[in-house]
Amino acid sequence: MIKFEGVHKWFKKLHVLNGIDLHVKQGEVVVVCGPSGSGKSTLIRTINQLEPIEEGSLIVDGMDLRSKKTDINKLRAEVGFVFQQFNLYPHLSVIDNITLAPTKIRRTPKKEAQEQAMELLERVGLAVKRDAYPTQLSGGQQQRVAIARALAMKPRIMLFDEPTSALDPEMIGEVLAVMQDLASTGMTMVCVTHEMGFAREVSDRVVFMDHGVILEEAQPEEFFRNPQHDRAKQFLKQLLSPMH
């Protein structure tokens, strides 16, 4: 479904992705973790070409991201993206946030799009907020609407870029629950997150990155019980007991 082969990317002189090889299969849930500045956000952003790559090959849902023939807007419509800062459209109500892309890009009739939006809002537990505006919602609620908005396009892949990092601790659970529910439907998911509970319980594979390189790739149980790389050991130790 997603295949990185020898992918490189630079920000000016900074080598942010240094030879990435990664293959995500259909229906797989992959968690990407690593210290800040490791390139994990850049990695996930290359998948829908928010960040273009400079070397190597990247195939997403059968489309070659380096080919000039690939219609990038078409690819993005098939790939849902959830941001750390939610990025809802502040001038639109919750329901309009969700129906905008389906009605304008997919040409779904408005009524049908609204019915689908309501189903999605039920699923994320926010049907009562259909006419609210983003500023009237808590962070957790905004993120759940953002997930519903991405799902409204019926994507084949969902990408999550630190979806809970901007949330108060008591709101993290509600967002993770929605993501777990989504994973159980067989959605292909790539999540950059530090929520190790989610990684352990929901993901099929954990990818650990540092300095633009994938240092370790393992089943979650194995990764947490017996990390191979020193940098991964140190990272897990700090994550589990930050005071030491």
Binding site: L50, R76, G80, N87, Y89, P90, H91, L100, A101, T135
Partner: protein, 234 residues
């Protein structure tokens, strides 16, 4: 001692009153056409100025600098006395069959004001967080569609206060159209003064009407902002 005797009746009823009313109508038409066209053109120029393509940006920049930095009166004269000299005969015949004074004034006001509006809207666009564009592009919207549905609606809200200023300027600047014979409010006030020598009354009347027009524009924009753009904040 004051020798002048006031006669307000000339501007509140009768023939001269009707002149002023017909002038107001033309002023309203000119302002309405100008505001709508200048806004749309300003939007377009603002988007072009932010284009990824350098030549497009250059054209937009040249447009902005040229029309912002030359006097409106010269631009009005250019369209009225200059432009038709280089147009084909057929076009000129058509222009003469229409109200060419009005058209020249409307074009000049539109283009002149659009340059200012474009800069206001551009600063509005720049104030929208770049993540909004990312969210729109991620959903599969093209750059222009992202502008249309996500960025511009937000930018225009922020731009309302400076836009009101530009609309007011346009309405007041429409008085310069008298210089090429457009029979708008100032032209008619001048006519009333010529016929009656009651300059104080005639121009007081014009002043009051312009003031009223400005108040109405401000109130309408305020209403639009509150009821249409920000209903949830009301």
């Amino acid at each position: 001692m004051l020798k002048y005797t006031f006669d307000w009746s000339i501007v509140t009823s009768g023939k001269y009153f009707e002149w002023l009313v017909s002038g107001l109508k033309v002023t309203l038409e000119l302002s309405a056409v100008g505001i709508v066209c200048a806004f749309l053109l300003g939007l377009l120029i603002a988007v072009l100025k932010m284009s990824h393509y350098r030549p497009v940006r250059w054209i937009a920049t040249a447009y902005l600098e040229f029309f912002r930095n030359t006097p409106l009166l010269v631009q009005i004269f250019f369209w009225y006395f200059g432009s038709y000299k280089v147009l084909p005969t057929a076009v000129n015949e058509w222009l003469n069959s229409t109200n060419f004074e009005f058209a020249a004034a409307a074009i000049a006001l539109t283009i002149y004001t659009s340059a200012f509006i474009a800069e206001d809207i551009r600063s509005g666009i720049l104030s929208i967080p770049k993540e909004q564009m990312e969210a729109a592009r991620s959903a599969g919207f093209s750059y222009l569609r992202s502008m249309q549905y996500i960025i511009l609606p937000q930018a225009v809200r922020i731009t309302i206060p400076p836009l009101v200023n530009q609309f007011l300027n346009l309405a007041k600047n429409s008085s310069l159209a008298m210089s090429i014979g457009v029979m708008e409010l100032t032209y008619q006030a001048r006519q009333v003064e010529s016929y009656t020598f009651k300059g104080f009354e005639a121009f007081t009347a014009a002043t009051v009407v312009y003031l009223g027009l400005s108040v109405v524009i401000t109130a309408l924009m305020d209403l639009y902002n509150k009821k249409v753009l920000n209903p949830h904040r009301a």
